[in-house]
């Protein structure tokens, strides 16, 4: 009750300040009148009112409001200072909050699975050490023979076509072993998980859908549960729906799952022995990544008769065991770390800049504060008021920064290269935002305290002028040092951006081994039982090519099963007739492209020796193969490869005829522009163990390639209206995407570097401008003594360039250390690239001159008589 009364009185005083004041005035006047009548002097009415007023709790609120109002008024009076400080803070906070919001789910936050740190991926490695999926045979052997894993599961990419309804579409999906979802601790939101019974050969067709697909195509999870859908012409019963929250990090786009039905047998010419099964495991509590890798290596070296292995899945080198999170995010890590580093640099520059601005403001108001102390202002009150101003500034900057971050997160997600993991989990992180706000407030408090403390030390009015001048000199030195720091940090960022810029330029200039200009590609899928037989598939590709070639503007066209730079991998082991492989040995593997004969002409891949594939190479004819230069050297050294005989993958059983190498073509960058060409071989569609049902149409056009896409689609659908067409992309697009991670990092770091340059320029301008103001008298005297305008300008510029040079010297040292972290992202330049360093230093010098220009002009304009009179 009393508490309520105190609260109500305070609120009432706050809401009706006029009435409260009048009441108090009456009370006080009455008291003083009575006292006066009794012949007692009781003091000053105003002071008395203030004393009483200060005792209520509402007074603290009032003074804070007054302080904030005063601070805002002060900030409004100096719009240049306020705008610069708030914009700087907003930039620093916005950039930091953006970057950490993006990084958190990718690099820091554990994946959203129970005991996510025990989840690992298991990969085979090709002869170049590049990780690749394992085989189902390897999976089966590991399940039976290892003890490091509580669970193991395998997932095989599966892209069924949704048929039997209007708008057929190709779906992303996986065939998974029954434990797959359980391994991630995930359960269907409705329906059931797969069971071992579903894996039995001959079991009914079942699928699990993603919640997204169920809602998009089938009216929701419950509506489609226990109903059949048609995939590729077959009926599948929907037995479950996975919830949206299930983060399927290994195949984020997967919308449909069915059980793996195959069993590995001793027949190696089967899909089960192909490298397309992604293995995941959940370690037992006692196991580590290393111990599991050791166990697999031991198992691999001790083969048992129960588990025969083909040479390409020999397991003798063990498997690559990696924590799931590392495997998924590893490729993005260098770019993201570089971006983190650069945003921290930017934040440091922003903080330094704000400190600089506030110090300048502190020096400017030093006299004001000293005067107020002399006039009897309470020091605590003064301190609180200066702090209020800093904190107000920080909060304004912080709020604006969070708005920036909100926009920045969207921009960054939009600009991110495809395949950056966990993008769906990225949003402006409330923790990060709070942290950024707290950080700026802290910066505000720390920086704000300095002038206030200086004012407290500042003593009486007698010491005022001298003291203020000394403080000014001290603050000038400090500010000079801060500018040096800013310039050096900016240099580190600029050098990083410069190196990346040069890398990307050099990278996109790399010859990919084919001519990407004027080439449009699209993936065509043969869906349904109409394409069950190989000859039917070949016939379709032939007819589709004929239709495509009739489209006006098409110069040449071909199909391929494997497109360079598309991310597709299809590798097979091999053997030579001339050099039988030692038993159990593994020579490595080569990428297979099943193509139609016009492929080389369409992509302009040069023929080095022998002949290209042509219409005579067809099913039934002697099997011809074309290999690339690298593979030719690897297989045959200096000998002429043409006429040599080789066998690949499933052909490597005694009965199969040898393929003859009929030609050698130039190397083509396959994985990325930065990675050397792999071993490659090319066969025609009819001369391989099967005919691929997904191939990419490659068309060279006489005009702009992208415009042709709708016409090409129509041409293909004129042959068969039911084939899904997807991934329509120009070859130039694939080339650009190949530099995607670097471009992404470049975009971010470039932005930060430009912001840093701007901030450093602002800092430099502030300091030079301040020093011109302080030295107006000196400049006036010099001018009076006959210094020319040129002398004055030189003097001002010398200070600016001196600070810049000092900053650059420190910055070069910092850059030498920092750019080492960039090393893995550089291409064609070293981290010490002199051209980059030289250019950056030149840019900084130019910016320093620009920043000093206006103050220098002002210095020239100083009128000696006015300047001398001013003191």
């Amino acid at each position: 009750m009393p508490l309520f009364r105190a609260f109500a009185r305070g609120v009432s005083a706050l809401l009706h300040p006029g009435r409260a004041d009048a009441d108090l005035a009456d009370e006080v006047r009455h008291y003083l009148d009575e006292a006066a009548a009794a012949g007692q002097g009781a003091g000053n009415a105003t002071a008395l009112r203030e004393t009483v007023r200060a005792s209520g709790w509402e007074h603290a609120v009032e003074t804070t409001v007054a302080d904030v109002r005063y601070a805002l008024r002060g900030l409004r009076r100096r719009p240049a200072f306020t705008l610069t400080a708030v914009a700087t803070l907003a930039l620093g906070i916005g950039a930091t909050a953006t970057v950490f919001s993006v990084l958190n789910p990718i690099l820091v936050e554990p994946f959203p699975f129970p005991d996510a740190n025990r989840l690992v991926t298991l990969d085979d490695r090709n002869s170049d050490g590049v990780p690749m999926p394992a085989t189902l045979g390897t999976y089966a052997e590991l399940v039976a023979r290892t003890h490091s894993f509580q669970m193991l599961a395998a997932a095989d990419p599966w892209r069924p076509s949704l048929t039997g309804i209007t708008e057929p579409e190709r779906l992303e999906g996986e065939r998974v072993t029954a434990g797959y979802f359980g391994l991630f601790g995930a359960l269907p939101v409705v329906g059931r998980d797969f069971t071992p019974a579903d894996e039995q050969p001959g079991a009914p067709n079942v699928v699990i859908l993603s919640e997204g697909l169920a809602e998009r195509r089938f009216g929701g999870a419950r509506a489609i549960l226990n109903r059949p859908i048609e995939l590729g012409g077959d009926l599948y019963l929907v037995v479950g729906v996975m919830p949206r929250v299930f983060a399927n990090v290994l195949a984020p786009a997967a919308a449909v799952w069915s059980p793996v039905r195959e069993r590995p047998t001793a027949d190696f010419e089967t899909r089960q022995w192909g490298h397309h099964y992604q293995l995941v495991g959940r370690l037992t509590p006692g196991s580590t990544v290393e111990s599991a890798a050791r166990e697999i290596l031991a198992v691999g070296r001790a083969a048992v008769p129960d588990f025969p292995r083909p040479t390409w899945a020999g397991l003798t080198n063990g498997l690559l065991v990696r924590p799931l999170q590392e495997a998924v995010t590893g490729s993005a890590r260098p770019a993201l770390l570089a971006i983190t580093l650069s945003v921290l640099l930017l934040l440091a520059i922003a903080s330094v800049n704000v400190a600089n601005l506030l110090l300048a403001r502190g020096a400017e108001r030093h006299a004001e504060l000293a005067m107020r102390v002399a006039l009897g202002a309470g020091r605590g009150r003064l301190l609180r008021q200066v702090l209020t101003e800093s904190v107000t500034l920080a909060l304004l900057g912080g709020a604006l920064g969070l708005l920036l971050a909100e926009a920045g997160v969207h921009a960054l997600v939009a600009a991110s290269p495809p395949g950056l993991p966990r993008m769906d989990a990225i949003r402006l992180d409330p923790t990060v935002s709070l942290f950024a706000l707290a950080l700026t407030t802290l910066v505000g408090v720390l920086v704000g305290i300095a002038p206030a403390l200086a004012a407290r030390r500042g003593g009486g009015a007698a010491g005022l002028p001298r003291d203020s001048r000394r403080a000014t000199a001290r603050s000038r030195r400090t500010r000079g040092a801060l500018v040096v720091a800013e310039v050096s940090l900016a240099l580190v960022l600029l050098v990083s951006a410069g190196l990346l810029f040069r890398s990307v330029r050099l990278l996109v200039a790399v010859a990919p081994g084919f001519d990407p200009g004027h080439v449009i590609t699209m993936q065509v899928v043969e869906a349904g039982h109409a394409f069950d037989s190989g000859p039917a598939r070949v016939a379709f590709y032939d007819q589709a090519l004929d239709a495509v070639r009739r489209v006006p503007g098409v110069a040449s066209a071909a199909f391929t099963s494997l497109l360079p730079l598309s991310g597709e991998v299809d590798a097979y082991g091999y053997e030579r007739e001339s050099a039988p492989r030692p038993a159990g040995g593994d020579d490595g593997d080569a990428l297979r492209s099943a193509v139609t004969p016009g492929y080389f002409a369409t992509l302009r891949i040069p023929l080095i020796r022998g002949r290209l594939l042509d219409a005579t190479d067809r099913s039934g004819a002697p099997e011809a193969v074309i290999i690339n230069e690298r593979f030719a050297r690897r297989l045959f050294g200096d000998r002429d490869p043409v006429g040599q005989r080789v066998r690949f993958g499933p052909e490597q059983s005694g009965a199969h005829a040898w393929d003859e190498v009929v030609g050698v073509v130039g190397d083509v960058k396959h994985y990325s522009l930065a990675v050397g060409a792999p071993n490659e071989f090319y066969v025609v569609n009819g001369q391989w163990a099967w005919v691929d049902n997904v191939e990419t149409l490659v068309v060279r056009s006489s005009g702009p390639a992208a415009a042709l896409a709708p016409l090409l689609q129509r041409a293909i659908w004129s042959v068969n209206a039911h084939v899904p067409i997807q991934r329509v992309q120009t070859m130039d697009g694939f080339v650009a995407a190949s530099a995607g991670n670097r471009r992404f990092a470049l975009l971010a770091i470039e932005t930060f570097a430009l912001a840093a340059l701007l901030l450093a320029a602002v800092g430099l301008y502030g300091v030079i401008s301040g020093s011109v103001t302080e030295r107006v008298r000196e400049i006036g005297i010099r001018t009076a003594l006959g210094a020319s305008p040129g002398d004055v300008v030189r003097q001002v510029l010398r200070r600016a360039l001196g600070l810049t040079a000092a900053g650059a010297a420190v910055g070069v040292l910092g850059a030498l250390a920092a750019t080492r972290l960039l090393a893995s992202m550089l291409f064609g330049v070293t981290a010490l690239d002199p051209l980059t360093y030289g250019a950056v230093i030149a840019v900084l010098g130019a910016v320093a001159i620009l920043a000093a220009w206006a103050p220098a002009r002002r210095a020239v304009g100083v009128d000696p008589t006015v300047a001398l009179r001013a003191e």
Binding site: M1, A6, E27, Y31, L48, T51, V52
Partner: protein, 111 residues
Amino acid sequence: MDQPTTDVIQGTLDLLILKTLSLAPLHGYGIARRIEQVSRGVFSVNPGSLLTALQRLERAGLIDAEWRATENSRRAHFYALTRGGRKRLETEAADWKRRAGAVARLLSAEG
């Protein structure tokens, strides 16, 4: 008055106000005057402290304030003890007497 006046002992002003008001409702200056008179000029009441204390006691619900018109000024608060104030006065007065007695005994104890 020859005797030196002192400010009211820290912490006892509330007690003195409550005691004064227990006799009759008064306005602010009346309270000060009464304290000075009853203490025979030993205590002088600082107007700032008094008005602050009155505001505090009112907010604490120990006294009620009521506006009344006065002759020479327009109006003034007349303060009266509440039931809570009376209770508080009893406990505080008993407490004070106990302490004052103890202090007096200590001071009068001869070595």
